[in-house]
């Protein structure tokens, strides 16, 4: 299994605090030692960092954690390999161009023996996650107009996510730089920080931050992660089958769909319904 971290903000925001918390789980406080990656959008452009080293000890992760990269949308992933070797081509997040935008995807879970349907996007590596991403991209390209509105888009994304969640565990983050789609198959949590901003303390490392000193009154910054990253804030825990479409730090669409519980989950994720927090 892996850990996911996403950010949606209404102003370019520094993700260092959350990245610092998440990366400690990469071989540090967590077992996710098989590489990590992050994609920061700057407009339609991307800053990508991928590494096969445990991010808790990766020089690149340490460097990125200190870079004051400001982004409105970002997706980060740390990996515990269960399918596919440990190499760069199997390291999330994955990127493809569609309709003149960079689409970025990261997946938490496992769908054994998944094979994408025929389409122009193909996996470079050998993970089920990249096959899933390519299937999504092929389905979106084949079934939606390039100017698809969020409602159309989420109809397609949710039906695909539900289809995947019936075959295995499918927690995901997907973005085209304009919006951020999040789906909870077994675990996902979010928090929206806005004025009045307060302090926060990371669960995984002794780091405190006073967001009031880091933000402007109008800033709205939402963090979406497979597990809450702070222990002194009130995170919203997604329900099984719940999805949210984020834009500029706000939820612009959301809903819940039925997804089954898989026997295999017991060994790899939190039992259905248990607050993810309780696992920390």
């Amino acid at each position: 299994m892996c850990e996911l971290l996403g950010m949606s903000a209404n102003t370019p925001t520094d993700l260092c605090f959350s990245v610092t918390g998440l990366t400690r789980r990469g071989g540090g406080t967590g077992p996710h030692k098989d590489g990590w990656g992050v994609a920061f959008y700057e407009g339609k452009g991307l800053r990508l960092f991928h590494d096969v080293e445990p991010c808790a000890t990766s020089p690149i992760a340490e460097f990125v954690g200190k870079l004051p990269i400001k982004s409105k949308t970002a997706i980060c992933h740390i990996r515990q390999a269960n399918v596919g070797n440990i190499n760069l081509s199997n390291t999330h997040p994955f990127v493809r161009e569609l309709w003149g935008r960079n689409w970025v995807f990261a997946h938490n879970g496992q769908i054994p023996n998944f094979t994408r349907r025929v389409g122009m996007y193909e996996a470079v590596g050998d993970t089920d996650s990249e096959e899933l991403f390519c299937d999504i991209m092929n389905q979106v390209r084949q079934n939606l107009p390039r100017d698809a509105m969020p409602a159309q888009l989420t109809d397609t994304l949710v039906s695909l996510a539900q289809e995947y969640a019936r075959q295995g565990v499918f927690n995901c983050l997907l973005s085209n730089g304009d919006w951020l789609f999040s789906f909870c198959s077994t675990k996902m949590a979010s928090i929206t920080r806005r004025a009045p901003f307060g302090p926060a303390c990371l669960k995984d490392v002794e780091v405190n931050i006073d967001f009031a000193a880091e933000t402007a009154p109008d800033d709205v910054v939402s963090i979406i992660a497979t597990e809450p990253l702070t222990h002194d804030e009130d995170w919203d825990i997604y329900e099984r089958g719940e999805w949210k479409l984020w834009q500029h730090g706000e939820v612009i669409a959301g809903g819940k769909t039925d997804v089954p519980v898989h026997a295999a989950e017991a060994t790899m994720t939190a039992p259905a319904g248990m607050p993810v927090d309780a696992k920390a």
Copy 2:
């Protein structure tokens, strides 16, 4: 205009020495201050770094220059913007997935008002270079089988390159991680280092290296750049219209095609026939 740097080697090789030389031209010894980028292949996977800061002063460039990243194929580009704003989406090298591989492209030159033909690949940014790359990818996907042999592939790439070079300046590096294609419209140079390895000194910064201490007897490492990076080695200067396909550090195919001289070149590149070295 910009600077290009490519590497083809028969063993994973550290490109730090050449990157150090090239990046000094990014706002240092050269005018190329409008961002830079580099793509290192590790198997079929990629390590990508892009920045809009002048690479001579970019913290990311300094960091990358010190990383002992070892790759058999790499493409680096530093930019002096002439088309498109200075932002990440306009920063080379550009990447697209085709037939399950990452294709990487970087361009030196300018082809005013170039517009790609219809196809699935679209530019994310607004440079002529990315339009050219998308046109190449669309033509390759539409006209070649996925198992195209180098001969078939180069026929297509060379005819496209010649077509572009008739419309403007088109020096380029293109790779799918297996081979590295290089085309000289106005300037390109290469050097192949093999045993017995000797010392070398960068032109752009006082750095010396003894390759004998860095390499094994069987290593073959070729560097391809728009201008020679060292002043004490004998670089091969490409002729106008010359192309080479590199693999494992060796030229596996090459040739020369007719390309015209453009009046505009005088202000942006070396006069035809003048050794690129003479411009240093």
